[in-house]
Amino acid sequence: MSKKQKTLSAERRRKTILSIVLAVICIIWILPILAVVINSFKVNTFVKTDTFALPLGEMWASFGNFIKGFGLQSGESNFWMAAFYSLFITVVSTGLILLFTSMAAWYIARVNSKICKLVYFVCVFSMVVPFQMVMFTLSKTADTLKLNTPWTIPVIYLGFGAGLAVFMFTGFVKSIPLEIEEAAVIDGCNPVKIYFKVVLPMLKPTMISVGVLEIMWVWNDYLLPYLVLDRTKYSTIPMLVQYLKGSYGTVDLGATMALILLSIIPVIIFYLICQKHIIKGVAAGAVKG
């Protein structure tokens, strides 16, 4: 065997070992989720004492935890209603953010007047402000303006989430050559048409990046809906989980794990389907933010 071949086979062996090591780490990485799965089928009393045992024999709860879980409520919301509110708020908020911030970003980048500069400055500034700074006053404002229902809370999300989205869209718009839009103006297009027919299609990659970030944020957000929504009537999934686990008295761990499992299944399916976009969106979002 020549020297070159030798180093090649050593290289190959090194890579195989690496593959195996990473595969083992991968399995460890999934264990917490497997723990949720096995415990969601386990009789409540065994969850704490035999967390890592398979739910066999007397521990097997079948679908009892799920059925019990569906009976649990936070205020007037059970799991299905919480799932519906979460989905509705996420979809509408993300839609509003994508549409209105991209329009504003186009306006800001193209007009670039003093007011535009001010709006842009405040948007960038808002990105470093933690939620705790505004949570009390924001929830009071939402109450006063009757924005405390799932149907109106997307306005709050548009407002609080605008900073990052405007920042990312503005950065992208400036890289679009002006000539295309100028040509459209000369051809007699009005700005609304230019925006929807010319600018919007070009913004698609940024739309996906921003959309992914906003979906992940809104779907998982706990504190904002908890403080803003009328808790006696409406709950989102994070609110429901926190209510079930955080409330005093006896906690039904099995039922909670069943609901947690149900709440992460859609997330994992969404991830596996849109994986490419999500990973690209995260990379792009972080590089720009």
Binding site: K15, L18, L22, A23, C26, W29, P32, I33, A35, V47, K48, T51, F52, F100, M103, A104, W106, Y107, A109, R110, V111, N112, Y120, V122, V128, V129, P130, Q132, M133, M135, F136, T137, T141, L147, V155, I156, L158, G159, A162, V166, K174, L178, E182, P191, M216, N220, Y222, P238, Q242, L253, I260, I264, I268, Y271, L272, Q275, I278, A283, A286, V287
Partner: protein, 308 residues
């Protein structure tokens, strides 16, 4: 310094009068919805919050101006000071561990080994699970182990600290890894080739060629993980909620695993509604802290970036 701020906040160029005048006429459609929502969701609450930090109040309608009293109370609050040091320690430890491990993972996953895609998919996955749910998953796991040792994550400050670190590693490594992978893939091939021809060892290539070239990614990741660490709330609430607490000589309690955001939240919505002014002052201090860290961090690491 001036130049830095200018760069950070400058609007991009791209004025064209051909396009400005028609768009201007449509400003109510393009700019107004976002500006209105932004005013409701950020600008007004922010200004109002600054004002209330100088007031005594229980609700927003009964505020009376008292000057710096709230800030003095905040600085004398043992729980708040403890939360500050605890948060700072947590942020630094998690910053180092997350970035080292994420960079290592990204480095291994850019070596053309088999199964890279699957590994990447699995490592990133925990990032999509929300903080509250994550907290309860891990509290079940930790307590499942710790009951056999007769303790609980809620009973030991050290366990609470490292438990939260493990949780954050599980959640954040995949995210930072993605950013590092993007950075590593952007390192120009010809530089690596040149290093190889010059006879650089793997270690030399890593420290002298690759790391300087992925400095932008390192900037972003350290910035993100530091601010994430300081702003952490959901995971802290769900995993330990600040427990265990210790009694002070004056009868008050300090929650030993309570971080800044949770401390502010508890001061706002705890039993004592008179403390809301103090809570708002703490929130302002918290905001200044996070903003200053963000700006210093960006400046410090930007200087190290390779000119491209």
């Amino acid at each position: 310094m001036k130049k830095f701020f200018k760069g950070l906040f400058a609007t991009p160029p791209g004025r064209s009068h051909l396009i400005i005048n028609p768009i201007r006429r449509w400003s109510p459609l393009f700019l107004l919805p976002m500006v209105l929502a932004f005013a409701i969701g950020f600008v007004w609450p922010f200004i109002h919050g600054i004002y209330l930090s100088f007031c005594k109040f229980k609700t927003t309608s009964d505020a009376t101006f008292i000057g710096f009293g709230n800030y003095i109370k905040a600085f004398n609050d043992k729980g708040f000071l403890h939360a500050f040091w605890y948060t700072a320690l947590f942020a630094i430890v998690s910053l180092i561990l997350i970035n080292v491990l994420a960079f290592l993972a990204a480095y291994l996953l850019t070596q053309n080994i088999k199964g890279t895609n699957i590994f990447r998919t699995v490592f990133f996955m925990p990032n999509l699970i929300g903080g509250i749910v994550l907290g309860y998953i891990w509290s079940m796991i930790f307590d499942g182990i710790l009951t056999h040792f007769g303790t609980s994550i809620l009973m030991d400050t050290n366990l609470g600290f490292w438990g939260l670190i493990i949780l954050m590693l599980w959640q954040q490594i995949g995210y930072m890894m993605i950013i590092y992978i993007a950075g590593l893939q952007a390192v120009p091939e010809d530089i690596l080739e040149a290093a190889k021809i010059d006879g650089a060892t793997k270690k030399q290539t890593l420290f002298r060629v690759i790391i300087p070239n992925v400095m932008p990614s390192i900037t972003i990741c350290t910035f993100l993980s530091l601010t994430n660490g300081f702003k952490l709330f959901d995971q802290n609430l769900a995993l330990t909620a600040g427990n265990p607490f210790v009694f002070q000589p004056d009868g008050s309690t300090v929650k030993t695993t309570e971080m800044l955001a949770l401390n502010i939240y508890n001061t706002f919505y705890g039993d004592n509604a008179n403390a809301r002014g103090t809570a708002q002052a703490k929130a302002v201090l918290f905001f200044i802290l996070v903003a200053v860290i963000g700006i210093i961090q960006l400046r410090a690491t930007r200087n190290k970036e390779v000119q491209q």
